[in-house]
């Protein structure tokens, strides 16, 4: 978890080597603001559900 250790103050883990999720390993949790109302949303909120995470852009 890099600088944050076990408690991530920033709410996004340090991807010092770039974003590289690995099959079979836990996806690091993150918290980012919603584009609609800026409310925080975390990946861990969806624990217990299957998630399709999509990194996208409109351009």
């Amino acid at each position: 978890m890099g600088i944050c250790g076990g408690l991530c103050l920033l709410a996004v883990p340090s991807y010092a080597d770039g974003y590289s999720p690995r099959v079979g390993q836990r996806h690091p949790d993150f918290t980012l603001p919603s584009i609609v109302d800026r409310e925080p949303v975390s990946l861990s909120q969806f624990r217990g559900r299957k998630v399709l995470l999509i990194h996208l852009a409109s351009w």
Partner: protein, 393 residues
């Protein structure tokens, strides 16, 4: 495609948008009728290398597939039960909360490392909006004082400068500062696709890979045809953001300077303020840059545009060997007799083959402006110097 699975409760779709502006992403989601949550990552804090990237994550948070195949995702992921053999990390919060800003500030002040300053900047940029932008800029600058070649700090600082230049706290040099830091970021890590695209949005057409935001007009039309009202954008895309790429620099044009003898009165009292940004900040001999000129009525002088007269024009004087396209630009008028919005004009410059050092081109703007204080309206000229740095070979 995912809608039936979402309706059946078999899947949650979660998006993360690599966008400078959240509202453009809202417009995109409205147009494409994306009804799943999308989160905002303007600073590329996730460090994702490109878009789109799709990751299938099971109920325990374990990655089960990268780029899942639509043909097999149901069988290989949705309908499968996965073992829960990866230990759960301690302290996972169930409710999402923004970061502890006070703790991040304390840590940055105590530790004073590049990482802690950068993380403070990240939190401010993501969560505090315009209220935190000055502090975010300071935090990233502190990070760069510790480690001058931290690409992430440069890129994110550029994002913050761009945010600030679109806010009420805008400083005249903010846009150029954004471009300068994005350029440094890209020089430090040239393979960062998201960073490259961010600067290309504002750059010259010769180096543009595709038009970035030309879809917006179509989106707004399609949404209206559905009977909906398109998401209102806080910042409209500039010409460079919607322009398509060009294969040649077309400099042939027949236009005359509007005030060749300089007879129009100068705006000596500063009723209109001009800002110039050159993208990219350096040009090679025979290279091309895009120049952005923003003209704002001066708030302190309570100035505003007079839209019942000729529109604002900008003329650029070429110097020997340099080409300008176009030389004469006209800004659209406001939609009421008096308005005070900033007006943005863009043109492209091709450097002379023997260009070197810093070259200054002369331009001037002609405009009708009124001052509220005494109700005076005038037709004025403002001379504008455009300094362009030529990259060393």
């Amino acid at each position: 495609m995912t809608r039936p699975w979402v309706r059946q409760g078999k899947l949650v779709v979660l998006g993360i948008a690599q966008e400078q502006h959240a509202d453009r992403c809202r417009l995109f989601a409205q147009w494409r009728q994306l009804d799943w949550p999308i989160l905002h990552d303007p600073i590329n804090v996730m460090r994702v290398g490109g878009v789109p990237v799709e990751v299938a994550i099971d109920e325990q948070g374990i990655v089960r597939s990268l780029r899942p195949d639509p043909k097999t995702i149901e069988k290989e992921f949705l309908d499968r039960t996965f073992p829960s053999d990866v230990p759960e990390p301690p302290g996972n919060a169930e409710k999402a909360t923004p970061p502890d800003m006070a703790a991040l500030r304390r840590r940055a002040e105590q530790n004073r490392s590049c990482d802690t300053w950068r993380e403070l900047g990240d939190a401010l940029a993501l969560w505090e909006g315009s209220a935190g932008i000055d502090e975010a800029i300071n935090a990233y600058r502190q990070a760069l004082l510790v480690k001058a070649d931290d690409g992430d700090a440069h890129f994110r600082l550029g994002v913050c400068y761009r945010m600030r230049c679109e806010s009420r706290q805008a400083m005249p040099t903010d846009f150029q500062a954004a471009v300068d830091h994005w350029t440094q970021a890209r020089e430090i890590e040239p393979n960062r696709y998201i960073w490259r695209r961010r600067i290309e949005q504002y750059g010259p057409r010769l180096t543009k890979p595709y038009p970035f935001y030309d879809w917006m007009e179509v989106a707004a039309r399609d949404i209206r045809e559905r009977g909906d009202r398109p998401v209102e954008l806080s910042v409209l895309p500039t010409g460079s953001e919607t322009a398509g790429p060009a294969r040649s620099f077309d400099a042939e044009q027949r236009v005359e300077p509007p005030d060749p003898q300089g007879r129009i009165l100068r705006d000596r009292s500063g009723l209109v303020l001009a800002e110039v940004t050159v993208v990219p900040p350096h040009v090679s001999p025979e290279g091309v840059v895009r120049v952005h000129v923003t003209l704002r009525p001066n708030d302190r002088r309570k100035a505003h545009w007079n839209n019942e007269a000729e529109p604002l024009r900008l003329w650029v004087d070429p110097i020997p060997g340099w080409k300008v396209q176009p030389q004469l630009l006209t800004a659209p008028q406001g939609n009421q007799p008096q308005t005070s919005e900033p007006r943005h004009l863009e043109f492209e410059l091709r450097a002379a083959p023997d260009a070197s050092g810093t070259v200054t081109l002369a331009a001037y703007a002609l405009y009708h402006v009124c001052e509220d204080a005494d109700g005076t309206c005038s037709f004025l000229r403002q001379d504008i110097s455009i300094a362009v740095k030529v990259a060393k070979q």
